[in-house]
């Protein structure tokens, strides 16, 4: 299992090479943001704890305190 994580980690990092080569800062920033979010979720998943997800918390709030649900 760990091997698969390492393998996909290498591939994602390797996608940084071309933008660094031709110096596109915006792309590097976005890729780093994506990778950091991915790491956050990857680690939370590896440790088995739940992670914050916008959709989950939005719908939790809708169920508890708004009329917008069918409470089936």
């Amino acid at each position: 299992m760990l091997i698969v994580f390492i393998f996909f980690g290498i591939i994602t990092i390797s996608s940084l090479i071309t933008p660094i080569k031709n110096g596109r800062i915006k792309e590097i920033a976005i890729i780093c943001a994506l990778i950091s979010i991915g790491l956050y979720y990857g680690i939370r998943f590896a440790q088995g704890e739940p992670a914050w997800s916008p959709l989950n918390s939005l719908e939790e709030w809708m169920i508890n305190s708004t009329p917008f649900n069918y409470n089936a």
Binding site: M1, I3, V4, F7, I10, I11, S14, I17, T18, K21
Partner: protein, 378 residues
Amino acid sequence: MKKLLKILCAAVTLCVILLSLGGCWSADEISHKAIILGISVDFADTPEKYLVTAQIARPSQLKASSADGENAYINISSEGVGVQAALHGFETQLSREIYTGHMELIIFSEEIARSGLTPVLDYFYRSSEARFSTPVIIAEGRAADLLDIQADLEQMPVSSILGTMSNQDSDIIMSGTTMGDLLREMVTEHSAVTLALFRVNGKRAAMEKAAVIKGDKMIGSLTIDQKQYELLAGGEYDEGVQVCKIADGKVASFRIMKCVTKHNLKYENGQFSADISVNITGQISGITFGGEEYTIRAREDLEQILRDFITRGINDMFSATKEINADIIGFNEMLRRKYPRDSKSLLENWDDNYRNFPISVSVAATLTGTGAVRERVK
């Protein structure tokens, strides 16, 4: 461009190595699998435990002719609190992993059927390997004995039981009720379903009765004839033989080729009633009495005999089912579908109302031929 090429090649080779290392999680060799063909579940001697017996095929013996004593199967049994625990017990005895992907038969003993099937069936319909289309049967006495019968024409007892069921199915009586049908009936309340009831006499298994399951408990059994009339009344009758015993020594048997059944439910001034019309076409297949008068010219009397016999059969089948108040034809479903609102009150306690639910039966029989011979050989 050159750099990209290098990365591409590196990535591909890395992927190949890692995939082969990390993969093969859920791959298990066929030769490391114990292929289970049939499972029988009994109450174990120690209370609260089940004795599960599994029939496992031995492929290498299959090719060799079974004459040299080595049968092509082995029966393993183990005890456990539930079916899952018992199946897990097999792992300790067997050299291979158990594989239920090809399971073709599930047998429960009558005691378990009478005490309730849900705790036992639960494992089967949750597991991803079992199929809803696996037939379920009930065994009188110990279910494990059914797995030890002598499989004369087949290589394995399970396939010989399946063989008898499929002949019966096409010929007269038993449609192999699958796990899916059983589940569907158990889910709809107040409805009942019939399963084949096998009994071991000597070295062979014979199917003489049909167990009636209501909810998830077995509440009684029907004889083979009653079961046949239930099929006639329910409209699931393909073809078969109907033997009418008029008096001692005088028997007429007919070959039924087509049977069209219509149920129409009536609801007048608060009173529900059902009218079943059965239209049978058949052939004379054997007469053991009578002289000149019972030939083709006497067709009307033979049809009359067949009509009376079937009407009486269906009526006493309904009276039998009303006794143990199991609505195996499924009138409650028909009523709910036809009169969803008005039948609500009746269906509330359908168990008692079924007892005095008026069912009228009208049978029409036409005989189209007398087999290969036109006249009766004196």
